[in-house]
Amino acid sequence: MAPILEYTLKSIVLLLIGAGGFAYMTLVERKFIGRLQSRIGPNRVGPFGLLQPMADGLKLIVKESITPAQADKLIFFIAPAISVIPALIIFAVIPFGNSPWLNLAANINIGVLYVLAVFSISVYGAVLGGWSSNNKYASLGGLRASAQMISYELALGLSLVAVVLMAGSASLNQIVQYQHPGNILGWLIFRQPVAAVLFAITAMAELARSPFDLVEAEQELTAGFMTEYSGMKFALFYMSEYVKMIAMSALFTTFFLGGWSGPGAQDSWLLSLIYFGIKMLVCLLAIVWTRATLPRFRYDKLMAFGWKVLLPIGLANVMVTALLIVLRVPGYR
Amino acid sequence: MNTVAPFVLLSAILFTIGVIGVLLRRNAIMIFMSIELMLNSANLAFVAFSNQWGKLDGQLIVFFVMAVAATEVAVGLALIVTIFHTKKSTDVDDLSQMKG
């Protein structure tokens, strides 16, 4: 029973990190955006506003959770959970550092596929939440969210295919190892810039964050599929968004920024963990920065962009990469 | 643990449930889902036998079944949507006429 115990413990730790990360990510975002908009951001609760997340959490927990009378109660209830679970279980395959115990499912050789599979089922939360609310805005928001996610999943998958082609493995550990030849140029962001940009854009769309936050476009849909949600259920949706954000950052780090690699990371798990954290934070801040900078897409343009621009680019990239590998161009395996 | 019999048994049960679903439900979408269940149960049996004999062929057949299932669903659901637009119904018993 030892392995089961180990995995359980790891899962609990991951859950806690996810919840805590979510909480403090909101704070980081608010403060960062505040700075970008020449204001200060939350600074009243605790030193530098550090207790603000606690206060928010407490508020949401004690708030009344309203369920619409015509809603489908059961699904209305489980939809937020369905939304959070995929966000959390992505972490299972991410190698946080140079140590087996920093990785939940240490070295499954289908890590990339796993990530894609989890993304593909993460649409359920939005769809079911929107539908069960029995509200037009919510339903449309749910459908929009899932259509958007499905559309961009393809381009996301194609960008990862290029990565897998380069690394010659679908295991995330192997991909990190592959990017660790001793210098920064080993990072795939330099050898697969197209894939990296593609991944960044599609990840943003998967997260349904600005500039792709049409799911909750206030002017059109009020709050999208979350319209009828309140209290702790709302908090769960919110949490799923931020946890996914963290997961995406971690994935980008893993796939394109060399993961935990860095000077001395090979010998020290602590250093590797720190490198990973720094890279991930940079990615997170980039996401927030994007939100503060870019306006929102129009919905039809969003779909057209996904299908008519990103997908062909992804295909072309895969083709060119495969060609370069077959031709044994130096630097391409 | 016997590696094949329980899985095949489960596969048979699921298949039968799928069959009954196909025959008893009148909603086209429900019938479709029952068919998916049948396909899936067959897949399970294939994988079980693949594991039993240590050969990949069973898994590859499952792979192709999935591809076919995907096409079937794409076309089938498109049909259902089209039919719904004309008939305002997804009840297969309302589709007993050749002419639209």
Binding site: - | V19, V62, F64
Partner: protein, 167 residues
């Protein structure tokens, strides 16, 4: 009772329950969710059967694509509330006959299982079934079916587009 058998039994019960729930559900969305649950349990069984690749594909294709499509259609058509009163006298004998035939089919399967597979042994050899092995098979002996399948997908895509095009 080994842990594997225990987990299998639990999974099997969930699976069967989900399947029965699916076919008896009065609400198409619930039926779809039951089916997703069933697919999930089957995916786990693939893992138990040394087929991790298929397990992942099962999740992403069936749960992630096919069932999402089902949910979409159900929600788009607003067809989730199923009113299936039997209206045709012709079909009155239909339900019992279907159940009897289904039971008979199951009985046949059980008979074969008990007489043929009871004595079968465990896995002959351990083998890998990751993306690499599957890929080698697909682009090796199964190249033609693979290409045919890709053409099939293309045709289905065109068909679906044509069928649902706005006139």
């Amino acid at each position: 009772m080994t842990p594997e058998l225990l987990s299998f039994i639990i999974l099997a019960i969930i699976s069967i329950a989900a399947a029965i729930g699916m076919i008896t559900s009065r609400n198409a969305v619930y039926a779809a969710l039951f089916l997703i649950l069933n697919f999930g349990t089957v995916a786990v069984m693939y893992l138990m059967l040394n087929a991790p690749f298929l397990a992942i594909i099962q999740v992403s294709v069936y749960a992630g694509a096919i069932m999402v499509l089902f949910l979409f259609v159900i929600m788009l058509l607003g067809a989730e509330r199923l009113n299936e009163r039997e209206t045709r006298p012709v079909m009155r004998w239909h339900r019992p006959l279907a159940i009897v035939l289904g039971a008979f089919l199951l009985a046949l399967a059980l008979y074969v299982l008990l007489t043929r597979l009871g004595q079968s042994t465990a896995s002959v050899n351990v083998f890998g079934a990751g993306p690499l092995e599957i890929g080698l098979q697909l682009f090796g002996p199964y190249l033609l079916p693979f290409e045919v399948a890709s053409v099939l997908l293309l045709v289905a895509m065109i068909g679906a587009v044509v069928l649902t095009r706005e006139k």
